[in-house]
Amino acid sequence: MSSAKSVIISCAGIGSRLGLAQTKALLNIEGKSLIAWQLELFKDIEDIRIVVGFQAKAVIKEVLKYRKDAIFVYNHNYFETKTGASFYLGAKDANEYVIEYDGDLLVHPDDIKKCLVEEEYIAYSEKTSDEAVFVRTDEQGNVLSFSKKDGDYEWTGPACIKKSKLKYSTGNVFNQLEEHLPMKGIKIRAQDIDTYEDYQRAIDFVRGWK
């Protein structure tokens, strides 16, 4: 009956680098909130879990417009923790395969299908940011390592891993994945929103989908 996968969207963070003091989930992109665009990508997924913290009330209200059946997961310590903690909290009681999806990420709708599988992988895209985490890959595209200095592609997520392998982390999601490398890689078209320039790029990105 039920599927063996869950999608965990981490929306707990403050998004401080964007400088708007507002959760990124509510950013307006072409007349829709960022979280609305994301939920559209996952409309066929049964188990959607939204990790909330900063401005939880507003995020919950927005999500409920689209997915009354979402499960909200609280990260009450969002100020002290990073994405690794949110992913763990969102995943710990979820289905067998947990798909991690950062709340500031947009993936091209034609590419998201490759990511909604019950199989472990790490997704990355062509490099667009200067300040990012990069992945080094082999000839088959498998991910060999993460690096803050350089690499072949930019780590964007999503990633999928068996829930049983996931541990609590005070670090980021890529730190949780590191110990399981090498892992299968999937190249996608994606845009994450860390800075105001990224936000402008995200708007252009979405315009290109139509």
């Binding site: 039920s2 049964e46 188990d47 909330v52 939880a56 919950i60 409920l64 009354k68 059946d69 979402a70 499960i71 909200f72 997961v73 609280y74 009450h76 909290l89 009681d93 979820a94 289905n95």
Partner: protein, 199 residues
């Protein structure tokens, strides 16, 4: 084993039962506003409960028991309970004599408040259930305790439960509840999916 402890009013039922009683007997709006203020945490639960029982206790107990047997329930939640009745218990501040038929219909163990009945009326309140004691009891017995609730009087129980699920099925959960919750759900689909994952 996982023990699921459910609040009754608003969590299993889709209407609060005390306002239902006052409506049925055409009592004034006092009870309704009292319940609302209590759920929101503006009046201490025990104070409000004592006041409500004092008013409603004058009404015929058997008629209330029959009335509450017909209260609307969340069907998927009730299905989960009947499929896992050994894992599920109800913890409610409601009086045993008012909900005995309803509880029988739901079909799992229930912890409740108690009173002395005389001449088909509640003569005296003898016990007000503290839900946190039920959580402690099962935790001490080595169970993993999941508590599902929505009101201010669920807060202490949810704070010490291993997993706390705030239910928005009937109304918005109290703010105090949200601050101690691991999860929040607004639909029976989400709640039952989560309960099955926790089983």
């Amino acid at each position: 084993m996982t023990k699921f402890i459910f609040d009754l009013d608003g969590t299993i039922t889709s209407k609060e039962t005390l306002p239902l009683i006052s409506n049925h007997f055409r009592l004034n709006e006092e009870i309704e506003s009292l319940t609302k203020e209590t759920v929101e945490g503006n009046i201490p639960f025990i104070e409000s409960f004592i006041r409500r029982v004092y008013i409603l206790g004058q009404l015929p107990v058997d008629e209330i028991d029959n009335l509450l047997e017909t209260v609307e329930l969340h069907p998927k939640v009730v299905d989960f309970i009947s499929q896992n009745s050994d894992n599920c218990v109800i913890a409610t501040g409601n009086l045993e004599c008012w909900i005995s038929k309803l509880v029988k219909k739901i079909g799992c163990k229930c912890y409740h408040s108690e009173g002395i009945i005389k001449d088909n009326k509640v003569e005296k309140l003898t016990k007000i259930l503290k839900k946190e004691n039920i959580v402690s009891f099962y935790k001490n017995a080595g169970e993993k305790v999941v508590f599902i609730g929505d009101g201010n009087n669920d807060m202490e129980a949810m704070r010490i439960a291993d997993v706390a699920i705030a239910s928005g099925l009937t109304h918005k959960p109290a703010k105090s509840v949200l601050s101690v919750s691991d999860y929040l759900v607004y639909s029976e689909e989400a709640l039952c999916r989560l309960l099955n994952q926790l089983l």
